[in-house]
């Protein structure tokens, strides 16, 4: 029994060591963003800002078209998320509850999309989206990013776990296939919908390379492109960069804090492990 105390100490110490590793970079970044420009580089560095200010934030907000970037990113993230949920839920349901050779083949095709990410086919994908007339539009950012193996397999796995009897009973009651899906199955899958929603929102909010390729007009830029343009400048304006970076993170942090439990309970690898 005397073995138990050191174990507790070790495990707790290790846990908090990792918390420090993961937390301190963010904390230092946040604290720095409240320092006035002059204080950022003046030695000796202090942990807390001596003269806390929000000038970095206001400067970032005014010197760039930040509100527009926010709006664009929000449009992309929300619409992509909604479409992702609809397509993943319907497809995952079909793959779970129906048997056909072509459904099995399509299951493998969807799996293959994880193996071959969009970055690999960047230039031909760009040409196609351009030829569809979606260049320089937010729709062009959303359309190719909607299909997701993770989402489809999360739903497939969930619907596999729903007893067949439920569907059979609905069929006996004369309920049509689609109406049983919408009335019975979809409401059941609410936790999956929530999990995929927050994940998809995070993916699209943080996307960089695809929006960068497809958007040319600064009016259509998303937040990540906006922030990256500050980083790419000849002389980085750190005060503005810190402010802009922190601002761009706020919506995700808020959403995460509200829907935390849905992320924490997700079993992402369940469907892929087979």
């Amino acid at each position: 029994m005397d073995n138990l105390l050191p174990k507790k100490v070790w495990a707790t110490a290790a846990l908090w060591f990792m918390v420090a590793l993961y937390g301190i970079p963010v904390l230092w970044f946040l604290l720095s963003s409240f320092k006035p420009a002059g204080e950022l580089f003046s030695y000796p560095l202090t942990i807390f800002p001596k003269h806390p200010t929000i000038s970095g934030f206001t400067e970032a907000w005014t010197s760039f078209d930040f509100s527009r970037y926010f709006g664009n990113t929000l449009i992309v993230a929300v619409s992509a998320t909604l479409i992702t949920i609809v397509t993943s839920a319907t497809c995952g349901y079909a793959l779970a509850k129906y048997t056909n050779w072509w459904l099995r083949a399509f299951t493998i095709c969807i799996l293959a999309t994880t193996m071959l990410p969009g970055e690999v086919i960047l230039s031909p994908l760009f040409l196609i989206v351009r030829d569809l007339g979606l260049y320089n539009s937010l729709a062009g950012v959303v359309a190719p990013s909607v299909i997701t193996a993770t989402g489809t397999f999360m739903f497939r796995q969930f619907f596999l776990s729903v007893p067949r009897d439920l569907l059979e009973a609905a069929r006996i009651d004369g309920s049509g296939e689609l109406s049983s899906f919408i009335r019975i199955m979809l409401p059941l899958s609410r936790p999956i919908i929530m999990t995929l929603a927050i994940m998809s929102f995070q993916w699209r909010w943080n996307d960089y390379i695809w929006p960068l390729v497809i958007l040319n007009d600064p009016k259509e830029f998303t937040l990540q492109i906006g922030v990256a343009s500050i980083v790419g400048a000849e002389n980085v304006n750190w005060s503005v960069l810190l402010g802009a970076s922190v601002l761009s993170m706020i919506p995700l942090v808020v959403i995460y804090l509200i829907f935390q439990k849905y992320v924490m309970n997700a079993d992402l690898s369940a469907g892929l492990k087979e």
């Binding site: 138990l4 230039s123 994908l125």
Partner: protein, 318 residues
């Protein structure tokens, strides 16, 4: 309704995992065959997107790789010229080798970090788990661009926290930005830092699903914590470990945004990885044909990596 995720996921995991991939159609009744139109309708949106944004670009990408297409006008056929050029292109080799080094470093680091975090979060001995869980997850929320900015800020050469501490302790400022290898090391740290949470999330349910009876039996035999971890936990979570390694490898091979934010792929072009190489040739220089050839090589490489890992995984199983 809310707490039905873990139960449902656990149950779902039990059935297909044990029965193996080939037996899953057995679960369906013969009556399923009657339906063609409904499932076709249900998968139609995903099928259309798959054909339009995945199959089609892959096909025309391979096609363009045999031409000198520039994105506009005609696409003159040049045979294997692009591939021959690629074989002699030092910049391509440099990007390829840099990508492989990056992957070889970042995957084990992410794996160990994610597994340690998961073990500590599941362990009954550690205190402060609710806070730790939230802190571990913050890097997941942060985009690669912002994560790059955060680490660039910490490892700034003339102003960074790390160099300040080193100098305060009497050391010399380390050239984090102007030395290519140190720059790569920062991206490796930043990448592992950012990818830990999502992989940890895969490990947590896997570790929880290990039957407690195994541990109890091992305790009776006098096994220590490390022995239990080594001989019970690790083998039990092997399928999850496989997925984590596979997905991390594929993810590392296509890293781009993080490099952009940390050092713009620099110093110079030293840390230009494959995606950046493809991006630069395809978009900045408009050599679509040549970039497509490079893409195709990357595609083959990813497939080889996936197949090799699958084979190793299968062999270990049997």
């Amino acid at each position: 309704m809310v707490d039905s995720i873990p139960r449902a996921a656990g149950r779902a995991e039990d059935t297909p995992d044990r029965s193996g991939p080939r037996r899953w159609p057995r679960r369906r009744s013969r009556r399923g065959h009657r339906y063609t139109l409904v499932p076709l309708l249900l998968i139609s949106s995903n099928l259309a997107l798959f054909l339009l944004f995945f199959v089609w670009p892959a096909v025309i990408g391979v096609g363009y790789s045999f031409t000198s297409y520039t994105g506009v006008g005609s696409a003159p056929f040049v045979g294997l010229d692009n591939y021959q050029r690629l074989l002699n292109d030092d910049a391509f080799y440099a990007a390829l080798i840099r990508s492989l080094i990056f992957t070889a470093a970042v995957v084990p680091l992410t794996f160990v970090a994610a597994l340690s975090a998961a073990v500590l979060l599941v362990s009954p001995h550690s205190r402060g788990k609710p806070i730790a869980r939230v802190v571990f997850f913050v890097p997941w929320l942060i985009s690669p661009i912002i994560a790059g900015v955060i680490w660039r800020w910490i490892f700034g050469e003339n102003f960074g926290l790390v160099n300040y501490v080193i100098m305060a302790l009497g050391g010399e400022a380390v050239p984090w930005q102007s030395n290519g290898n140190l720059s790569l090391a920062i991206v490796i740290i930043a990448s592992a830092w950012g990818n830990t949470a999502i992989n940890m999330l895969m490990f947590v349910p896997a570790i929880k699903n290990v039957p407690a009876a195994y541990y109890e039996a091992a305790s009776l035999d006098g096994a220590g914590s490390w022995a239990k971890f080594r001989h019970i936990t690790l083998p039990s979570i092997a399928p999850t470990s496989f997925i984590v390694i596979l997905l991390s490898t594929l993810g590392a091979m296509k890293e781009y945004a993080l490099f952009q934010a940390v050092n713009g792929g620099g110093p110079g072009t030293e840390n230009n990885l494959l995606i950046q190489y493809i991006f630069t040739t395809g978009f900045r220089r408009a050599q679509v044909g040549y970039a497509s050839a490079a893409s195709f090589v990357l595609m083959l490489l990813l497939m080889v990596i996936a197949v090799v890992q699958l084979v190793i995984n299968r062999r270990k199983d049997s």
